[in-house]
Symmetry: C2
Subunit: 205 residues, 2 copies
């Protein structure tokens, strides 16, 4: 096996991710899926894109409100009190072949539908802004239990969101993903070649 | 005077900015410049762009390596040990009218030249990647003592950087800014309408 993080990046757990979610089963150890998180797969894929000159796309740092910092002599500054802030945008953005790329990645353990409570108002607003500026906005959604990952055009989520505001259902059924979104197959390198699929969105514009 | 931060954002000092730098002189209190930092001016300008549907450009959060988090009952998680990390990209990015926008903002107190030590290897590399992907990359440089602010095309900095690597000077003289870069006049709202100038870079491509 190739070493997956040649640049020596330190693994950072996300806020939404609890270690308990990562119980390994026999199924997880199959060649195509070793129980890595969606975030791990995307970081690895973006590293691959940057290293190979395919795209320049990064995950944004988690926004922090810093309250107290210590400056010990002869060593690095230490943050001693800080709080997580609500991000004003999405998690990932960058540029690919002249296109501005902007997306949010979400996991759900549900086997039947994607709960819209995973998405926030300000993310919908931000993605509307991106599309108004002629950028490309989408979601990457993984059904972790089913081991299925979809690239979801923004308009599909936006419509479900609008329906929910008008009293409609609070989740998007898997069947709609199968119908409208593009399913991604896991690869070895890159793990999740989502730009192949985004290419289709562009071609359809 | 209008309230400058209608969205109630909390002011966050940056790493490079010490409060001592902000001594107010009579000159600073003139109408056009009240001694605000370049970062304040840019945040205000980007807020203006987003509110008015002109562009969707944001400052990225400062990357932090989190080591220890406490989860007190019935209150927000508190980060108790964390360290500043070196950013892998530039500070600002986003989309404007189909263009991917990527820039770094720097201040210098020098009256005669901009020291290249303010810029890091990985930022040059990142901006080269952005341009290879047909994005627009530039610097915004403020000579704080002179109260002059320039939008600097990436190729100007890249050339000075290459010359320095070959034994050339370690700073860019003000005269070159006056010749090659675009000077910005401060406005009331937005404070620093840098997209007007970036427009010229696009037209010249």
């Amino acid at each position: 096996m190739a070493i997956r993080y040649p640049n020596g990046k330190v693994y950072q757990p996300t806020q939404n991710e609890s270690p308990e979610k990562k119980r390994l089963t026999k199924k997880d150890l199959s060649f195509s899926n070793r129980g890595k998180s969606l975030e791990d797969d995307l970081n690895e894929t973006n590293d691959f894109y940057v290293r190979n000159g395919i795209a320049s796309i990064y995950k944004k740092p988690v926004p922090i409100q810093i309250v107290k910092v210590e400056y010990p002599k002869r060593s690095a500054a230490v943050i001693r009190e800080a709080y997580f802030r609500t991000p004003s945008t999405t998690d990932y953005n960058g540029v690919w072949n002249g296109y501005y790329i902007d997306f949010e990645a979400k996991e759900t353990e549900s086997k039947t539908s994607f709960p819209l409570k995973n998405i926030h108002d300000h993310q919908i607003k931000h993605m509307q802004d991106v599309i108004a500026q002629k950028g490309i906005a989408f979601f990457i959604v993984r059904f972790t239990t089913l081991e299925r990952t979809f690239v979801v055009p923004f308009h599909m989520v936006e419509e479900a969101w609008r329906n929910m505001d008008n009293g409609g259902r609070k989740s998007i059924p898997l069947a709609l993903f199968e119908q409208v979104a593009e399913e991604l197959q896991l690869g070895l390198s890159p793990r999740l070649d989502y730009l192949l699929v985004v290419n289709k969105f562009v071609a359809n514009n």
